[in-house]
């Protein structure tokens, strides 16, 4: 009997809680284990803690984001008032641009970003929102929306990345700021995606990837990650500090690009948002803003010569 009891206690000791208990008391923690003490000198010697405390403590991250966002909004208002939106004929032909899968993946990413950016900004200004339930809710939504974005990231990258590679005419596009500074309609050097869209694509995918990674590192906080720690040569706490720095600065860039993207689709080129809803772009819009793509489609015989050939000049 005593032997059996002994074995039962042994078994429960092994299977029930032994490992869990040790985990729980942080025996294997990469933050609160031995590292907690070894990290004390690195707090003073390593730049990350100083940079993080300076920037976060003085609100520089939030200021950077706020200034960038306000600057873009002011620029839009100015652009809308001075140059004004571009209108393209909706009564001519339409060109099929995005298939149903592309549109669906874009929709998932769009929903994710529309949640991610405002909730992120609210967290940056958590104090102004009083913290507590509301900001905590935003933080949790931020995490959930990340899952959506992560789902859309790989297909989105796979669908578009070839067309998003830079081309020489992108430089010309940049010098003329995509022709957005004037209301003149003349063909603009751009393929299916112009240089601005390309920049946005790379920010959203590669930048987004780093946002997911740094966000996940901070979300999971305490985990044994010898690979990360060794490749970066940093202790876990420094990985977290670096993640917070990268996440905050890159986040401001993401917010700005999202705003530009929305402004372009909704305001700057009236009605162009329909392309990603219905899949069709207006023929005139393609002719002017994506001229090289127009030529490409023409050469492939996918479209007929446009009536706009007569109306506007043609690019070489």
């Amino acid at each position: 009997m005593r032997k059996i009891l002994f074995f039962i206690t042994l078994a429960t000791g092994l299977f029930a809680d032994n490992k869990e208990f040790i985990d729980q008391i942080q025996g294997d923690s990469s933050v609160w284990g031995e590292g907690r003490f070894i990290n004390i000198p690195t707090y003073y010697d390593n730049g990350f803690a100083k940079f993080f405390v300076d920037w976060q403590g003085n609100g520089y991250f939030a200021m950077l984001a706020a200034v960038a966002i306000l600057a873009v909004i002011v620029a839009f208002a100015g652009h809308y008032a001075i140059v004004g939106p571009k209108h393209f004929s909706h009564s001519h032909g339409k060109i099929y641009a995005f298939n149903v899968i592309e549109r669906l993946v874009h929709l998932i990413a769009a929903v994710a970003w529309v949640v991610l950016v405002p909730t992120g900004v609210i967290m940056m200004f958590g104090e102004e929102f009083g913290g507590g339930f509301f900001v905590r809710l935003c933080k949790n939504l931020h995490g959930l929306a990340t899952i959506l974005f992560a789902i859309s990231l790989i297909p989105m990258f796979a669908f578009w990345f070839v067309r998003m590679l830079p081309a020489t005419y992108d430089l010309k596009w940049m010098f003329m700021v995509g022709g957005y500074l004037s209301k003149n309609k003349k063909p603009i050097p751009a393929g299916k995606f112009n240089a601005g869209q390309k920049a946005w694509f790379w920010v959203a995918t590669v930048g987004g990837f780093f946002m997911i990674v740094t966000g996940a590192l901070m979300y999971f906080l305490d985990y044994p990650a010898p690979v990360i720690n060794e490749t970066l040569g940093l202790s876990q706490i420094d990985v977290l500090r670096l993640s917070a720095i990268v996440h905050n600065i890159l986040g401001a860039a993401c917010a700005v690009f999202l705003l530009v993207h929305i402004y372009m689709a909704v305001f700057a080129i009236k009605g162009s948002i329909h392309a990603i809803i219905t899949g069709y772009k207006e023929e005139e819009e393609v002719y002017i803003l994506h001229h090289y793509w127009y030529q490409e489609l023409l050469k492939k015989g996918e479209i007929k010569p446009s009536v706009f050939e007569q109306k506007y000049t043609n690019l070489k």
């Binding site: 208990f21 729980q24 008391i25 942080q26 933050v31 609160w32 031995e34 590292g35 907690r36 003490f37 990290n39 004390i40 707090y43 003073y44 803690a49 100083k50 993080f52 405390v53 300076d54 976060q56 403590g57 939030a62 967290m123 940056m124 200004f125 958590g126 104090e127 929102f129 009083g130 913290g131 507590g132 900001v135 905590r136 933080k139 949790n140 995490g143 959930l144 901070m218 979300y219 999971f220 906080l221 305490d222 706490i237 977290l240 500090r241 917070a244």
Partner: protein, 200 residues
């Protein structure tokens, strides 16, 4: 009153790694299993002459970096320099942990999707913003022994009195007297007297 500054000091020549302080803290405040406000650790284990143990929790820093970085500003520093925070305002972002030189802030796990709960750290047994000695205060922050005029649990329980807590000049005086009397000193781990950032 405002000239009173509380501090922690652990005498490295006296700490014997008995874990009395951390057990007292865990038990007295009825902490969750995954939260250890105070920890004792031995460094240079097995190296003769270099091995020493020390007890560490939140050090209640001057111009505490945790309070500086908190995006929802839920920290408040009492007149006697004890650094406390409001768990109902905290969003569990973890920034205070990144800023803390001593790895003090802790995050209970096990919420939905294993989200981090509200930050937990040593209160120097001074409770929180809830009504003093109320049930809620005890439930959220643990005992408020300071309000009862008692020494914090850890130092009260310390068998060798390596761990000292109290008014900073008094704590410093006790430690100085000890060093003078025993004529050797390995040093102490203690509340930094200036903001750690000033050392950069």
């Amino acid at each position: 009153m405002s000239s009173v500054r509380m501090k922690f000091l652990c005498d490295l020549d006296r700490c014997i790694d008995c874990d009395g302080c951390s057990v007292a803290c865990d038990s007295g405040h009825e902490l969750a299993l995954d939260v250890r406000r105070r920890r004792v650790i031995t460094l240079n284990e097995g190296i003769p002459g270099k091995e020493f143990s020390t007890s560490m929790a939140c050090m209640h820093c001057t111009d505490a970096p945790c309070a500086q970085v908190c995006p929802v500003n839920c920290f408040y520093i009492r007149e006697d320099a004890i650094v406390l925070h409001d768990k109902n305002t905290c969003i569990g972002c973890g920034y205070c942990l990144y800023a803390c030189p001593f790895g003090a802030p802790q995050f209970p796990r096990g919420g939905i999707f294993s989200t981090k709960g509200a930050m937990d750290k040593c209160t120097m047994c001074a409770g929180g913003p809830e009504e003093t000695n109320s049930k809620e205060e005890f439930h959220i922050y643990g005992q408020n022994r300071i309000a009862e005029g008692k020494v914090p649990l850890c130092a009260a329980m310390c068998a060798t009195k390596a761990l000292l807590v109290g008014e900073s000049t008094e704590v410093d005086r006790i430690y100085r007297d000890r060093v003078v009397a025993r004529k050797y000193s390995r040093g102490a781990s203690q509340t930094p007297s200036t903001y750690p950032g000033n050392a950069w």
